[in-house]
């Protein structure tokens, strides 16, 4: 058992900040790495030490195993925390750390390789007696083969990246005529994201729920599950709202899914924190999808209902400490919901909206947690994932958690970039969401209702605010003497795209 003194965080954004906070609480020095685009990023400000690793594109910085390891060696890091994304599920990176004698905070490299290849994970599940979604058990590299398998399984079908994760390289196909195009797109995205274009197929279930189980395993033979997270609210196959407990999961289903998750983790010889993703059909049957061999974006909902700090537990397990609890000691208390605040425009199909943050006021007060990676005046770069913050609300029950989250969203102010916050405001009022009647098709199905028009009073107040502000800007511009052009030139800040050129 060793005690880490210095942990290198091989990531950026909110998760790097999250890990730096855990290090500070444990009195461990946090070592940040940054690309040229991130010199002034929040994760650099929050760390104890910081090292440049290359140009803005991730391939030249955050994905450069050689450079990150060189920094780790040079700076005397005892351990590396990979966060999620980037190198978090890269077996070669974990192996390089192992070989350099630097602890990788996660499972062993061979476990990552075994579970990272999604079809071998599916075969392992079958061996462990865990049901999987019908589909292919080996990766496909050939379009004709893929077409044949698709016919065998039957449409609708999901095309997935064998090396995949995070919704990348994933396509739903309902119509055979779109199969080839969708497969080509998926392969191209998978190649770009993972450097591996191989695909596999899964039967698309009707209105499935996406429910996952968090597991923790130490190096002393103890494996526990830390209950479920409901992740059915997705756009473009990426989660946007998660909660725990799931409003759908009964105590019996929870116990059943927890046992399946532990069985698979034990069979895989799993160590540290990991998550087993399941689809659950309307009848309540779970089907294993894949295992994420790292911290999940949505880990805070589990933390808020269990009181555990999963990042600190990851570090402690990696230090060789036994888990400080048994399965029977774990309890869920109340209900937690997370909204992922993305720099995206829901009005334009969730297209990314990078840029400079002009206003940032996070909500506060009882029952809230904001895990942010940005700050007012800072830049959201085009190069990386557009997640700027995770907002989590806790309540004694689901209704209180939702009411609190609504309150939080109404307090959260972000200007300069477009975010998913106004979209959440409407999801959180939707009757189907309030009833817990959600599945992975929720957003697509209700998209029109989620674009509700503003009320007359809102329009009036917006006009009043804008008109008074315009008058004041004009007056203060005059007070400062003649202005080149007219008063409105001072307004220019960024493109006014909805209205087009008005003058």
């Amino acid at each position: 058992m060793s005690s880490f003194r210095r942990i290198l965080i091989a990531n950026r954004g909110e998760i790097a900040v999250r890990i730096a906070r855990a290090c500070r609480e444990l009195d461990i020095a946090s070592l940040a790495v940054y690309s040229e685009a991130d010199r002034a990023a929040l994760h650099v400000r929050m760390a104890d030490e910081a090292f440049a690793i290359g140009p803005a594109p991730s391939r030249e910085s955050y994905l450069r195993i050689d450079r990150i390891l060189e920094v780790a060696r040079r700076s005397g890091a005892d351990a590396v925390h990979p966060g999620y994304g980037f190198l978090a599920e890269n077996a070669a990176f974990a192996r390089a750390c192992e070989e350099a004698g630097i602890a990788f905070i996660g499972p062993r490299s061979e476990t990552i390789a075994l579970l990272g290849e999604k079809t071998s994970a599916r075969r392992l599940a079958v061996e462990a007696g865990v049901p999987v979604v019908p589909g292919t058990l080996a990766p496909l590299d050939d379009l004709d083969l893929l077409r044949g398998e698709a016919e065998r399984i039957g449409l609708p079908i999901m095309i997935k990246a064998a090396a995949g994760g995070g919704g990348k390289g994933l396509r739903l196909v309902r119509d055979a005529s779109f199969l080839a195009a969708a497969a080509a797109r998926a392969r191209s995205e998978a190649l770009s994201a993972f450097g591996d274009g191989r695909l596999y197929l899964e039967k698309a279930l009707e209105r499935p729920r996406h429910i996952e189980i968090q597991v923790l395993a130490d190096h002393h033979g103890h494996t526990v599950h830390v209950f479920e997270r409901e992740c059915s609210i997705q756009r473009r196959h990426q989660k946007v709202i998660e909660e725990s407990p799931s409003p759908f999961v009964t105590p019996e289903l929870r116990e059943h899914m927890g046992a399946l998750a532990v069985a698979l983790a034990v069979r895989a010889g799993y160590r540290n924190a990991g998550t087993l993703e399941f689809l659950v059909d309307a009848a309540g049957h779970p089907y294993f999808l894949e295992m994420n061999t790292r911290l999940q974006v949505e880990h805070p909902v589990t933390e808020m209902v269990t009181g555990l700090d999963l990042v600190k537990l990851q570090i402690r397990v990696a230090q060789g400490e036994p888990l400080p609890f048994a399965q029977a000691d774990l309890r869920q208390r109340g209900h937690a919901i997370e909204c992922r605040v993305y720099a995206e425009d829901p009005g334009q199909g969730f297209l990314p909206s990078p840029g400079r943050i002009v206003v940032l006021r996070a909500p506060a007060g009882p029952g809230l947690r904001d895990d942010s990676g940005v700050y007012e005046g800072g830049e959201v770069p085009i190069h990386y994932d557009p997640l700027i913050s995770k907002l989590v609300a806790w309540g004694t029950d689901r209704a209180e958690a939702i009411a609190r989250m609504r309150r939080a969203v109404s307090e959260y102010a972000v200007l300069g970039i477009t975010t998913t916050l106004p979209f959440f405001e409407r999801v959180l009022r939707h009757p189907a969401f309030l009833a817990g009647d959600i599945d992975t098709g929720f957003i697509e199905r209700h998209l029109d209702q989620l674009r509700a028009a503003p009320s007359d009073e809102d329009r009036d107040i917006a006009v009043v605010a804008a008109a008074v502000r315009a008058l004041r800007d004009r007056q203060s511009a005059r007070a400062q003497g003649p202005v080149p052009g007219d008063a409105t030139s001072a307004w220019r800040a960024r493109g006014w795209r909805d209205l087009g050129p008005v003058r």
């Binding site: 405001e425 329009r459 009036d460 605010a465 008109a467 800040a493 006014w496 209205l499």
Partner: protein, 165 residues
């Protein structure tokens, strides 16, 4: 001052005049008078009290107007000084449709060429931005007049991708 204010597709006439007392204004919206008490609380924040109702407002200057954030709801308000003439007609109704890049990024695929007929919702180009491939689709049916872009090209926000007629 008198403005033509456009918000969510509605255009109204807004007449704003300073009242007596700090922060007091009268705003007439299409003639309806509203007495408001406005206090700045920072460069982008204001507190507006209108008939007892308190509104916390965040504002961002845009070209030709402001983005207004009202407790989780975002409204873009376009303002034109009424003295300068009527509001320009919105361009999207009948004429050609300009499909522009909604963000900076790289074009990984151009799916149409000039002269081709496309249906509403059909994919026109695929852009990569923030590690995702995003398909930009046709806002309506029409014929591609121009597609002045090439695969592999980097584009900025607002760049013309496809002109439909």
């Amino acid at each position: 001052m008198i403005y033509d204010a456009t918000v969510d597709g509605h255009t109204v006439r807004a007449e704003v005049r300073a009242g007596s007392g700090e922060g007091r204004y009268t705003v007439r919206i299409d003639g309806r008078p509203l007495e408001v008490d406005v206090r700045a609380a920072g460069p982008h924040t204001m507190s507006v009290i209108a008939c007892g109702h308190a509104h916390e407002i965040f504002l961002e200057a845009l070209e030709g107007g402001y983005r207004v954030l009202l407790r989780g709801r975002v409204l873009d308000v376009g303002l034109v000084e009424a003295a300068r003439g009527a509001v320009a007609a919105r361009g999207t109704a009948g004429g050609p449709a300009r499909v522009q890049a909604p963000m900076p990024g790289k074009l990984v695929r151009v799916l149409v060429r000039a002269g081709q007929d496309v249906g509403a919702g059909q994919g026109l180009v695929v852009m990569e931005a923030m590690k995702m491939e995003n398909e930009i689709r046709a806002p309506r049916a029409g014929r591609v007049k121009e597609a002045p872009v090439q695969e592999g090209q980097a584009v900025e926000t607002g760049a013309l991708l496809v002109l439909l007629e």
